[in-house]
């Protein structure tokens, strides 16, 4: 497991340029702990501060590279985790990416063009499918969630984005500037890749 200092630096690999509040929203630490960790990390040169936002430095990445193998040794040797990750990569992850593409583009007469979101049925079907994949992901990632509470938190945040998307806030499917399904999904993916020491498959 990561201590609050390590976890805070790690969170900056999931979201670049975050404020202490935004990092705490991701890693669930008390805001005071995140602030303390950031202060120390800046002093260590692991993190840079810029007007209330923080960014990891190459030195910070080097620290994490040293930390992960120790912190996650048990988890990395667990075959159930390996199996869950394989299933995640080949199954639900591909489905979410394909659905996000279907959300952003539609086929008109054989050509893919931007989805102008004029067809509510089309959009609702994609959101409904994302909902089913989300439910399935909870099953697939159960072995990881048992070992790491943040995995559940990511799934909850994806669920929250889905509810907003279902409520008509379409930015919450793939918007970059909000905690959309895609944004949080990618944070979660990056998180579990780092946990398990895997490379992004593409």
């Amino acid at each position: 497991m990561l201590d609050p200092y390590e976890l805070t630096v790690h969170t900056l690999t999931l979201r670049q340029l975050g404020s202490a509040e935004q990092l705490a929203e991701i890693n669930a630490l008390p805001i005071g702990d995140v602030e303390d960790a950031l202060e120390k990390a800046v002093a260590d040169g692991a993190v840079m501060a810029a007007r209330g936002n923080y960014m990891i430095t190459p030195a910070g990445r080097a620290v994490l590279d040293g930390v992960y193998p120790r912190a996650f040794a048990d988890l990395r040797s667990d075959p159930a985790i390996t199996e869950a990750m394989d299933s995640f990569e080949t199954g639900v992850n591909k489905q979410v990416l394909a659905l996000t593409t279907d959300w952003q583009t539609v086929e008109v007469d054989g050509t893919r063009v931007s989805n102008d979101h004029a067809d509510a049925d089309y959009d609702n079907k994609i959101i409904a499918k994302l909902g089913r994949v989300h439910e399935k992901t909870q099953k697939v990632l159960r072995p990881l969630a048992h070992r790491d509470p943040l995995v559940d938190r990511f799934l909850d945040r994806i669920g929250a984005a889905l509810i907003r998307a279902e409520g008509g806030e379409s930015d919450y499917v793939s918007g970059v500037r909000v905690d959309s399904v895609h944004t949080v999904w990618f944070q979660m993916h990056e998180h579990i890749l780092r946990l398990t020491g895997r490379e992004r498959p593409e």
Partner: protein
């Protein structure tokens, strides 16, 4: 003989019936009635009402008498089509779909081909002379039922046959697909009711303040088969060309085909002229119906139809998908036809569509002699020229540069926001780089191959993300001018009359806030804070819809930009949502 009034839980969308209440029968059944009342032929159907849904929840099960009425409803469909539900000769299959007065996500998808079992499959095979078709119908139904009624979450669509679908369902849930068609029907109706209380439907209603007891109706409609004989077929028809918006019917027809055949791409359909040659009367009837639906729907329609033994059935008519160019043409044309008002036309075209049309392109001929450095998959269209950098930090320090990476991850997003285009070595149309670039409307080419970063970094390149090529040097581009295109010019004129926001290159009222002058570290994943009291904003971020919304919410009077229409449309859409 009319038994319509004797039903307690059912409504028949008959052309002679008076307009049914949408609250009672739901939007989909209402539109079926609408097509019938226009004299168009749709496969016969009946509706289990929202009152039955309320009773289902009050009684904790299908209300008294509903099961009997379902039998009567099916008998009526059987009679009209000369088929038998669960029969071993000329079997009747039905679709079962949800339909609330207000459409909402989380409700159950349509179950097709309900009423199938082993014996019915054999009967269908004998009737159609096509055992593969019958097997496919059975496999598909089993998948629909497994997923929608039994709640199986496995992917069932890609499995090859009914047996493997059954096995997958058995591996995931404790129940099996019943062989008895009546049991299938009752369970499907109950599952539709149940879906109105799904987590997603409940969340949606809560968000929109829709009463939570608003249930759903269930439409049960006979399936028709386009693959029955040589006088049968299926097709789709657009009432207007979906690519350029021209007012001309446009479509495809597949003799001896079933609806899914056209969509699946397994077979190549023929143009509609094929139907004209085989069945001129059916073709004429179809075009007349299409014209009617276009006029009544006040919009371009995408119509699905099936011909069964020479008889035309309309299955669905809904607003057609269209390209940005077609959306503009259709909206303006509908105003000229006197069908809609200019204000309505403005709501038919989105800011994103106009941005698409105004994207610069490489000037004609300019690419012919240019050197192609790398090429890949065009993931987010557009053209951009700039110096190539290979880290997000460098991209932030040089806004407007080209960011080239092996692949991108959340780590790179701030750099992608600052870059004018994104190029990657790895990945396809669903990669992180592709998805994020599309969300940002940044040109993006992915999958250019190993060594791309090394070969491009430090060079000036032109990325043509519409063709997926990266050229050496700066190529001339040609930008569309919104005042030179007649349709865009008229939309702009209407849009200026519809919002008090001033938009243009010479509208600045002090104080002005310019987001493009912000230091690099403030260019990030969030919108910049607009200082209070700001009257005018400028900068690339305020040309995108989320920037426009932020500017309006902070009370600005003017936005400085060269392209007025997308900003005006975003502003109008924002007024519409918030007023």
């Amino acid at each position: 003989m009319s038994t319509v009034t004797s039903f307690r839980w059912l409504v028949i969308p008959d052309e002679t019936a008076t307009e049914p209440s949408r609250d009672l029968v739901g939007g989909k059944a209402w539109s079926l009635w609408r097509m019938r009342s226009l004299g168009l032929r749709v496969p016969p159907a009946f509706v289990v009402t929202t009152e039955a849904c309320a009773a289902y929840f009050a009684e904790g099960g299908l209300p008294d008498g509903l099961a009997d009425e379902l039998v009567s409803g099916i008998r009526m469909l059987e009679k009209q089509l000369g088929r038998t539900f669960g029969g071993t000769e000329r079997p009747l299959l039905v679709s079962v779909r949800s339909g609330a007065a207000i459409s909402m996500p989380g409700m159950m998808d349509t179950i097709l081909d309900l009423g199938c079992n082993d014996a019915v499959e054999a009967a269908l095979a004998a009737e159609s002379g096509d055992p593969d078709f019958a097997a496919e119908v059975h496999r598909r139904f089993t998948g629909f039922y497994g997923r929608l009624v039994l709640g199986c979450t496995d992917d069932l669509e890609d499995l090859p046959d009914t047996a493997s679908v059954r096995a997958a369902i058995a591996g995931d849930v404790d129940e099996m697909v019943p062989a008895d068609p009546w049991e299938q029907l009752r369970a499907a109706v109950a599952a539709v009711f149940q879906s109105s209380r799904s987590r997603r439907a409940v969340a949606y209603r809560k968000h929109y303040g829709i009463p939570d007891d608003l249930g759903t109706a269930v439409t049960v409609q006979a399936m028709v088969f386009g693959n029955l004989d040589d006088d049968s077929g299926t097709g789709v028809l657009f009432t207007r060309n979906p690519v350029d918006g021209t007012r001309e019917p446009y479509g495809e027809y597949l003799q001896r085909g079933q609806g899914e055949d056209v969509v699946s791409g397994r077979v190549t359909p023929k143009p509609l002229t094929d139907l004209h040659e085989r069945w001129p009367t059916v073709h004429t009837e179809l075009l007349e119906a299409a014209d009617r639906l276009d006029r009544e729907g006040k919009d371009a329609q995408d119509i699905e139809f099936t011909v069964q033994s020479g008889e035309l059935f309309l299955l669905q008519s809904r607003p057609a998908k269209r390209t940005a160019r077609a959306a503009v043409r259709i909206a303006v044309e509908l105003v000229d036809e006197g069908v809609i008002e200019p204000a309505e036309a403005l709501s038919r075209v989105t800011a994103d569509q106009i941005r698409t049309l105004l994207r610069p392109e490489i000037a004609a001929g300019a690419a012919d002699s240019a050197e192609v450095l790398v090429s890949g998959v065009a993931a987010s269209p557009g053209v951009a020229t700039g110096v190539v950098v290979d880290t997000p930090e460098a991209a932030q320090a040089n806004p407007g540069c080209i960011l080239v990476r092996k692949s991108t991850s959340p780590d790179d997003v701030h750099g992608m926001i600052a870059a004018a285009a994104v190029v990657t070595e790895q990945g396809g149309a669903t990669s992180h780089a592709a998805v994020v670039s599309r969300a940002l409307d940044t040109p993006c080419v992915v999958g250019c191959g190993t060594g791309t970063v090394e070969s491009l970094v430090g060079r000036i390149v032109t990325v043509d993300a519409t063709t997926g090529r990266v050229y050496a040097g700066e190529l001339p581009t040609s930008a569309v001018d919104e005042s030179r295109d007649e349709d865009l010019r008229r939309l702009t004129e209407w849009a200026e009359g519809a919002t008090p926001l001033q938009v243009g290159t010479d509208v600045a009222v002090e104080p002005v806030f310019d987001a493009d002058t912000l230091p690099a570290e403030e260019l990030g994943e969030q919108l910049p804070d607009i200082p209070s009291g700001t009257k005018t904003v400028r900068g690339a971020i305020f040309c995108a819809p989320d920037g426009v919304r932020a500017a309006l919410d902070s009370g600005v009077d003017a936005i400085v930009t060269a392209h007025r229409l997308p900003v005006l449309l975003a502003a109008i859409a924002h007024h519409r949502r918030t007023s």
